[in-house]
């Protein structure tokens, strides 16, 4: 999972190595006052044909990590490797190949499509950019993409504002899929969709994964949705990965924060259990020392406040960053 020795080159799509993304906050003084440490030394590798669930509360840096992978955010330190080359050093053909193989789905379906264009133009843009210019070919691919996301071909002439949230998200998925990418970063694709329609979107993602064996980085704050959907779960808190586990170990979360997220979603757990965890997620500008969760954790010990717990492999494929399991 982490720096595995025998990196199976053709099986990994992407490696994130000690990635740091800091946003400067220029406040009072003439020089930069402080940094929002959105992503703070995260390492992971994305393999083929796998759905990864990246879970965390708002402000944990999960979206920033997703955006860094698709080159929307420039890393402050560390690097992201695609075919063993740093993303930001890719040039010409390699860069174009990277752009083809990594796509992104955005959270807000209402703003993710160009309002002045019809669905057809929105869908055909990726093809046009990657030099597929034959009219009939574009038409065929667009209709094929629409049928895959279970939308009738007549949707091509519609404008985005004539569609419902669910339909728009499907078109965003179709747009991401049309180039048959190897990895799709989905930033909270289901959070703006009605609860009764979330199932369809998830079912769609799973079907398309089997059909085109694309990998997904499913970013969300809903741990129960991610748990059913993904094969590998990463829990993120204040810029750091605190737990990694495969979903057949689901439910057996070890890190206190993961447990807290799980309890929060499950209403059968009485409130007292949750109320024992104090406060809210602090600002990433001044993250707490040592283990970042110690200010809210009920098991916090003196060592937690001084030292940062490393990610320890408790059982094959299950890593935890907490001194309880050191």
């Amino acid at each position: 999972m982490l720096q595995k020795i025998d990196v199976d080159y053709n099986n990994t799509i992407l490696d994130v190595v000690h990635l740091k993304v800091y946003f400067p906050v220029r406040k009072w003084g003439p020089f930069k006052r402080g940094y929002v440490k959105a992503v703070d030394d995260v390492s992971l590798s994305v393999e083929k044909n796998k759905i990864y669930g990246l879970i965390g509360e708002s402000g944990s840096g999960k979206t920033t990590l997703g955006r860094a992978i698709v080159m929307l955010e420039r890393p402050t330190d560390g690097k992201i490797l695609f075919m063993r080359k740093n993303l930001w050093e890719l040039k010409g053909h390699d860069l174009k190949y990277f752009r083809r193989s990594v796509q992104m789905i955005f959270q807000d379906p209402f703003a993710a499509l160009n309002p002045l264009w019809t669905v057809f133009k929105n869908l055909s843009l990726p093809l046009f950019i990657h030099d597929i210019t034959d009219k009939k070919e574009i038409q065929r691919l667009c209709i094929q993409a629409l049928t895959e996301v279970k939308l009738a071909p007549h949707y091509l002439e519609k404008f985005p504002h004539e569609l419902s949230g669910g339909e728009r998200q499907r078109i965003c998925i179709a747009r991401a899929l049309i180039l048959k990418p190897r990895l799709i970063v989905a930033d909270e694709p289901t959070s703006m969709i009605d609860a009764s329609l979330k199932g369809d979107i998830c079912k769609l993602l799973v079907e398309l994964k089997e059909k085109y064996n694309t990998s997904y980085l499913f970013i969300s704050h809903e741990i129960n949705v991610a748990q059913k959907l993904s094969e590998q779960m990463l829990i993120m808190y204040l810029g750091k990965i605190v737990e990694v586990l495969t979903t057949h170990q689901a439910g057996k979360y070890l890190h206190p924060y993961s447990k807290l997220l799980m309890y929060g979603m499950d209403y059968s757990i009485p409130d007292e259990v949750i109320l024992r965890f104090k406060g809210e997620i602090p600002s990433a500008l001044t993250p707490p020392s040592g283990c970042r969760f110690h200010t809210r954790c009920i098991y916090a010990t003196p060592i937690c406040t001084t030292q940062e717990p490393p990610l320890v492999e408790v059982e094959p494929g299950h890593f935890v960053a907490c001194f309880l399991y050191d």
Binding site: K27, W28, G29, P30
Partner: protein, 325 residues
């Protein structure tokens, strides 16, 4: 406080940089100072040389620049040397004699413009869709797009000729000696009404439109609904809750307004032959009287920068988000 030091240092460099550009401007003019002196007054050759030495034009450019900076930046009040046209008089004295009138007219109309524009803007936004708002908006757009000197003439025709209420020109009636008697002040006020009205009517609409459109945005904010739910009276909502947020952009417009205001000032002084700096500068530019021009631009730039700092300061007081940002 550190925020201020940073802001001040940044602004100071911009100021000095602008002054340096100002220094080189006359040199760029096609008609050089010497040529002007020679043909304008048809002075004999040696007189021109004498003048050149007097104005220090024969010194190498760098020393001129240093001397210029020395007595402009570091000496207060800045000394710009002698005016070309009315030679023995120093630039400083000319400007100082005309300055008070302009400052009086500009400051008063600046205040009136801000108040009139903002208040009418608030009322228009509050009574959106009613006939009153329709009339106000039409009037505002009409005044906004009408040239200020034309509007001044309209005011003169209506108030000075047809109704004979206000004097059409000048800063005070010639019959009264310029001592600080009550009569003198009364006449000064009467004379300044039309010019001020001209400036206010052309500048206020930009505040009016800004505040009106901003207010209607703020009306849609959630905290307005919370206030209504709390049972706050509509008038308090409009003035205490909504106006306060809506006036923030008006304050920043206030800062940049000085420059715009000056344009109107020059025109109004030309039409009303009001003895302010505006009229002076037009004659100075037409007469290629460079030191006066430099002195004038010095005042505008300094005034502009001071106003922008004042606006920042006011902005911080009104909008807590900036203070604790």
């Amino acid at each position: 406080m550190k925020y201020f030091l940073r802001r001040l240092s940044l602004v100071f460099f911009a100021w000095v940089f602008a002054l340096i550009i100002l220094f080189f401007l006359p040199r760029l003019m096609p008609v050089g100072p010497e040529a002007l002196l020679a043909d304008r007054f048809r002075l004999p050759e040696e007189a021109v040389l004498l003048m050149r030495k007097e104005f220090g034009l024969d010194l190498p450019i760098t020393t001129q620049l240093l001397r210029f900076l020395q007595n402009v930046v570091f000496k207060f009040p800045p000394d710009f040397g002698y005016s070309y046209i009315n030679y023995p008089v120093r630039v400083k004295d000319i400007i100082l004699s005309h300055l008070p009138w302009t400052v009086y007219l500009m400051m008063s109309s600046l205040m009136v413009t801000f108040l009139l524009g903002s208040v009418t803007g608030i009322i228009a936004a509050w009574k959106r869709g009613t006939k009153l708002e329709g009339i106000l908006s039409l009037l505002a757009i009409f005044c906004l797009s009408s040239p200020v000197f034309w509007l001044s003439y309209i005011l003169i025709i209506v108030f000075a000729f047809v109704f004979r209420v206000f004097p059409p020109a000048g800063a005070y009636s010639v019959t009264i000696t310029s001592t600080f008697s009550l009569q003198f002040i009364g006449s000064v006020l009467r004379h300044s009404v039309l010019p001020m009205l001209a400036i206010v009517l052309t500048q206020a609409p930009s505040y009016f439109l800004l505040v009106r459109d901003n207010m209607s945005l703020v009306f849609k904010e959630d905290y307005v609904i919370t206030a209504m739910a709390k049972g706050v009276k509509e008038r308090t909502i409009v003035f205490k809750h909504v106006a306060r947020n809506a006036l923030l952009p008006a304050v920043s417009l206030f800062g940049t307004q000085v420059g715009l205001m000056l344009g109107g000032q020059i025109m109004v002084e030309a039409v009303f032959s009001y003895p302010g700096v505006g009229k002076l500068i037009v004659d100075a530019i037409l007469g290629l009287d460079y030191p006066v021009v430099i002195g004038f631009f010095y005042i505008i730039i300094t005034l502009g920068i001071i106003m922008s700092i004042v606006t920042d300061f006011v902005y911080i007081i009104i909008d807590p988000r900036v203070r604790y940002g």
